[in-house]
């Protein structure tokens, strides 16, 4: 026994580590975890997403202390938070701004992966966990949006739940089951509260854990798309890798500082962000007899919303919306290119990536506009651009003229 105890330092730290591998875990995950040395600005958004998640959990817990669920109390309790709870306005604005910030960093995080081929083997599972996080996040954001029971909350619930009515045969019954009433009602907001506050956050935490475990197994990709594990030095460590701590912990802390500065500016000066982060129609109570005009979802859903509206058939529209979201899941298998990073891909991939980028942003803009005339035509063109990126990928990723990928990371990437 004495020999075994020798490996532990004396005192509380040793006592703890003998019973739980705290030091071992920190060493393996931080000091001896080698990440590629060429991370650029796009590599901030993973850690930022984690920061926002923690922030949302924290502010969310405080909001539940003052929020009163129910169709007759929810709206008033939110006004109570805003006007009478000390710093209630701050807690709520942190939470609403956090929701939009979450999608900003997650969209940038996903776009990074598309640019640098981070979803490609051996990181397919990592990508899939990330996509499940994205799905859970959408459900979380939607249900959270319903809770203040403003008029936009009500109509968002009405429209989104009715999407399920387009499912053949079971649709109408399913919609009633989701709502728990013949229309969006008290029962709906009550169950959304339970899901938003308990169920989905638990799922999110589990998925984030799995995402990180999978990341640690395969290691990070990098802007060059070169596997650093293919070049080990004499000491068995990747020659192009640097320890996560202190190098990337310091980098991430800097990123968090910049992020929080921008975040605070929004929270304190433009919490509604020009009707984008919080919508005017939601500052009046839910009214089943008055649809807000114009009706638009939160900005992070508008690309899909624009696709839905671009189709003059409800079932097909809902189906295309679903495909538009799920298409991301199949990227690892749609992409047949021998190289990962856009830096070594040819004109074809770059062209389609540009089409995708422009289409996505155009759809995002159009989803905020009324569904009339030229806007619908534009949405149809952009939807074609969006889907062509995915559907034609097996062709253009293979036909593309890629450049030879070097063995080592370039020192100045």
């Amino acid at each position: 026994m004495a020999n075994q105890d020798a490996q532990y330092s004396p005192g509380v730290w040793g006592w703890l580590n003998k019973r739980m591998p705290v030091q071992k875990f920190m060493r393996e995950q931080l000091l001896e975890y080698y990440a590629p040395k060429n991370f650029n600005v796009w590599y901030f958004f993973g850690s930022l997403a984690l920061v926002v998640l923690v922030m949302q959990l924290f502010t969310g817990i405080f909001l539940t202390m003052f929020y009163k669920v129910g169709d007759s109390s929810a709206f008033d309790s939110v006004e109570y938070i805003m006007r009478e709870v000390d710093y209630g306005w701050l807690i709520r604005y942190l939470h609403t701004t956090g929701a939009s910030a979450f999608f900003i960093v997650v969209y940038l995080h996903m776009y990074r992966s598309i640019m640098y081929g981070s979803y490609k083997a051996p990181r397919e599972l990592l990508w899939l966990f990330g996509m499940f996080i994205y799905l859970a996040l959408m459900a979380e954001a939607f249900m959270g949006y319903v809770l203040p029971w403003g008029n936009m909350s009500y109509w968002a619930a009405q429209v989104i739940i009715n999407l399920f009515s387009t499912i053949p045969l079971i649709g109408p019954g399913l919609v009633e089951w989701i709502r728990g009433d013949y229309g969006v009602a008290d029962a709906t907001v009550d169950r959304f509260f339970a899901l938003h506050v308990v169920a989905i956050p638990l799922v999110l935490l589990l998925l984030v854990t799995l995402h990180l475990v999978a990341l640690r197994q395969v290691g990070s990709n990098n802007p060059e798309g070169i596997e650093i594990k293919g070049n080990l030095g004499a000491d068995g460590k990747p020659v192009d890798g640097i320890p996560f701590h202190p190098y990337y912990t310091v980098k991430d802390v800097f990123g968090i500082g910049v992020f929080l500065t921008l975040f605070a500016i929004v929270v304190f000066f433009v919490p509604t962000f020009g009707n984008l982060f919080m919508e005017e129609a939601n500052f009046e109570p839910a009214n089943p007899l008055s649809t807000p005009e114009p009706i638009a979802p939160s900005w992070y859903f508008t690309p899909y919303y624009a696709i839905l509206r671009a189709v003059p058939n409800q079932r097909l529209g809902a189906l295309l919306l679903l495909i538009a979201v799920l298409a991301f899941f199949f990227l690892p298998w749609l992409d047949r290119s021998p190289v990962k990073s856009v830096r070594y891909r040819g004109a074809l991939f770059r062209g389609f990536l540009a089409i995708f980028t422009v289409s996505f942003l155009t759809l995002m803009y159009l989803g905020l506009k009324p569904a009339t005339g030229a806007y619908v035509t534009a949405a149809r063109v952009a939807a074609i651009g969006y889907f062509s990126f995915f559907l034609l990928m097996p062709w253009y990723s293979r036909a593309d003229r890629t450049k030879p990928v070097p063995q080592r990371l370039r020192s100045h990437a």
Partner: protein, 208 residues
């Protein structure tokens, strides 16, 4: 049990029996899980209270003028009730070619409302006001040649959410994201001036 099992020789283990028991246990557990989850799934159905609140609604028509519309709520769904002039009714068949479902074959309505004007009485129209696309409230645009909808607009409804258009009988126009006409609830007339929504000769209907 065979002697081989008692002596613990691995090669003598009845693998078929072991596999059968494993699969049978897993299958029983799975069936049990399905039964165990069903009350939780059922709890999401509309409660007894929600169902009780879905009782029929009475509407007084005595003050309803031609071209006027009132909105009532039945089962949390807004119901549009409006009186059409003889000219409005007469114009209905003239734009059949511009409709997705002019005969209402693919749309939901009680049998007594399955006619050209989609109503029991010629003048009174009763429609569930939730757009058959995604459930917004179509807005009233009764004026012929409405400024928003163009000179050939025969009067009807426009959904502010996704631009679905319906005529004065709730029939959907071509080019709308909605695919079917506005639904019609079960209803009946108690007398000349009293309308009962949610109940007809077949009794109070289950959820529309």
């Amino acid at each position: 049990m065979t002697d081989a099992v008692v002596t613990g020789e691995q090669s003598e283990v009845d693998q078929g029996r072991r596999k059968f028991l494993t699969v049978a246990t897993a299958a029983t557990a799975a069936a049990g899980a399905v039964f165990a989850i069903s009350p939780f799934i059922a709890s999401w159905e509309p409660s007894e209270r929600a169902r009780a609140l879905g009782a029929p609604v009475t509407v007084d028509l005595s003050k309803l003028d031609v071209g006027q519309m009132v909105t009532y709520v039945w089962r949390r769904q807004p119901i549009y009730i409006f009186k059409r002039s003889p000219q409005m009714v007469a114009s209905l068949p003239t734009h059949d070619a511009r409709l997705k479902d002019p005969q209402s074959k693919d749309s939901e309505q009680p049998s007594y409302a399955l006619n050209e004007r989609r109503s029991r009485r010629i003048d009174i129209a009763v429609l569930i006001a939730t757009c058959t696309h995604l459930g917004c409230l179509p807005k009233q645009h009764f004026d012929v040649g409405d400024a928003v909808l163009g000179t050939d607009w025969p009067g009807g409804f426009l959904c502010p959410c996704h631009g679905s258009r319906f005529d004065m009988a709730g029939r959907v126009f071509n080019g709308s994201p909605a695919s079917t006409n506005l639904r019609i609830p079960p209803y009946s007339f108690v007398n000349e001036n009293t309308l009962l929504i949610g109940q007809d000769e077949s009794g109070a209907k289950e959820a529309a």
